[in-house]
Point group: C2
Chain length 354, copies 2
């Protein structure tokens, strides 16, 4: 019998507050009964909602906090106002204090990353954290990172992301050697992607325990060409939101097409189950949960605007990351690399990594 | 009666060669009878195909070229092997020599941009060329640039793109003051997008004749929030290809859903016309034609793998750009700005642009 997975929840985060967070937690608890929760937030409000969720109440304790980080607070502002005392900070702090195994918040991304980075610090060997998203593809799902933690990657941080993304894909998809691609543009000899080219060289020539596939382009993400797509945070965030926008656009075209004639409406009625299945397949709630990678602790970001089902997905991701020991696997990959390069003689032309 | 629009075609470019190029040109000629063509390519092959297209033949002359730029040639290789004598170079050169008003090629993007840039040079006041794509949106169409001409933009080149993209949207969509957004990520205070912030400041404070809307995110492209989306070439290329990949992915989901049960198949039969309309709406051939902006001449890139209908769309775009005087409009915007900043007293805190 393994120990339960302890999740710290920022009960006040997100557009809909404790109602959504707690309902979501209860859904996730139904799927993973070996979970316990610490709920940080306004005690009166949280307990009021908890009264409607007896199963969740039995697996939870509530810790009162006064301060709520606003959805529009700037990271610096959130740190100034919310450090030590906000529900967001306290949820992260529970991970640091080993009272919880992971923190989940639907609060604002910039503030959450700033607080997580400030409090948990980056793992040894990792220069900066990244946010990894789970992307539905034609072949299943892929891990895509960085989707917006920082702008402008060095070759070293791209390599680190390849290592962390591989570990996450191993945990999530149960694949021994997930394939990793570096996102690039398909234009030869173009200037300015030296970091990406250099990262490719490092992944090809050095032993980082990464199954490196090569460059991939934007259309390869949805095709599922590789299990892990690595890119710098600006392009990654643009890619993620562009895909979301395109999916919405096509769903809207489809609705319009199905309503434009009597025949189409009859067809829709016949195929309703199929449309329902399609809708579920395209449901963004299913892949909710951005994973902060590279920190000394597990923090998961849920979309702020999601509903209980979506928040439950983010809690599921936290559960998997803890249960399958994401951090230990990332550390193992980093240490494995260090062991492989430190004592062995260096091949000519390959520089050691610090 | 206005003079005909003279189009120089790289008859050898693209995956399918003269057959597709010439069939496409004939389709476009049917829509715009006031066009004439110069066809650069292997004389025997081109004349062989032209024999099946008598209408096109009557509006064309053929110029023999020996060298074909390969679809995988690197730009430097293409310049070395193909300068002065390839079908691609000669089509561009016809624009330079004022024998044609625009060049269209389905050949490889990098080679075409390198040759166009080398031969036509950038317009006065423009520091580097950009590739603009036409993006179908929920509100119609938008211009998105740069989708891959160069990596890493300065604030100045972003402002130039805003000016050029506005001129193109004015020509294509017949809007007096197209709205312009700068693509950005939604994370506050994030590091490294100083160029984008500075470009925003310039567009807000200086008179560039641009209807500046503000920052937009990836999902705003498909929503059609603005008429012109400006971004640096790496992110723009990733966005374009990610959207293409997502559209393919969803089309594949839809096909699978419609085939999964008898009821769904019956529904599909009833709604077939609606599906056909949806398919046409999503048809990537309708928005084929990347426009090279910022050069002393009009060059249009067609997708290499497109068919005759797609190539015809690229020729249509060339026609519109010539007929509605794209270059003169870009020049007017640039000159208008210069006039507005040079003699007038500078408001405090606003620096002049060179």
């Amino acid at each position: 019998m393994t120990a339960p997975v302890r999740i710290a929840l920022d009960a006040m985060g997100g557009d809909h507050g404790p109602e959504t967070v707690l309902s979501g937690a209860e859904i996730a608890l139904g799927r993973h009964p070996d979970m316990s929760f610490i709920l940080y937030g306004d005690e009166a409000r949280v307990n009021g909602v908890l009264a409607h969720h007896p199963k969740l109440a039995a697996a939870s304790r509530v810790v009162h906090t006064d301060v709520v980080v606003g959805m529009d607070d700037k990271p610096s502002q959130a740190l100034r106002r919310g450090r030590y005392k906000s529900s967001m900070w306290r949820a992260i702090d529970a991970v640091k204090l080993k009272e919880a195994d992971a923190a989940v918040s639907a609060g604002n991304t910039g503030a959450l990353m700033a607080m997580a980075n400030f409090n948990l610090r980056t793992m040894p060997g990792i220069s900066r954290p990244a946010i990894a998203g789970i992307w539905p593809t034609l072949r299943g799902e892929s891990v895509v990172l960085d989707v917006g933690a920082s702008i402008g990657a060095t070759s070293k941080s791209l390599v680190e992301m390849a290592v962390m993304g591989s570990a996450m894909a191993r945990v999530l998809f149960d694949i021994e050697c997930p394939s990793v691609g570096l996102l690039n543009v398909g234009v030869e000899e173009i200037k300015g992607v030296e970091e990406v080219k250099e990262a490719a060289r490092i992944l090809r020539e050095e032993n980082w325990g990464v199954n490196y596939h090569g460059f991939v382009e934007g259309n390869d993400i949805g095709a599922g060409t590789v299990d892990v797509v690595v890119t710098e945070g600006f392009a990654g965030n643009i890619a993620l939101k562009t895909a979301e926008g395109t999916a919405k656009q096509l769903a809207s075209y489809l609705r319009a097409a199905m309503g434009r004639s009597l025949r189409a409406r009859i067809g829709y009625l016949f195929a309703r189950d199929a449309f329902q299945a399609l809708k579920e397949k395209m449901d963004p709630r299913r892949s909710n949960g951005g994973v902060f990678l590279g920190l000394n602790g597990i923090v998961i970001k849920s979309h702020g605007g999601t509903d209980a089902e979506g928040f439950a997905s983010a809690v599921d991701v936290a559960y998997d990351m803890v249960r399958y020991e994401l951090l230990a696997r990332i550390e193992k990959s980093l240490v494995g690399h260090a062991a492989s390069v430190t004592p062995a003689p260096q091949p000519a032309g390959v520089e050691g990594q610090s």
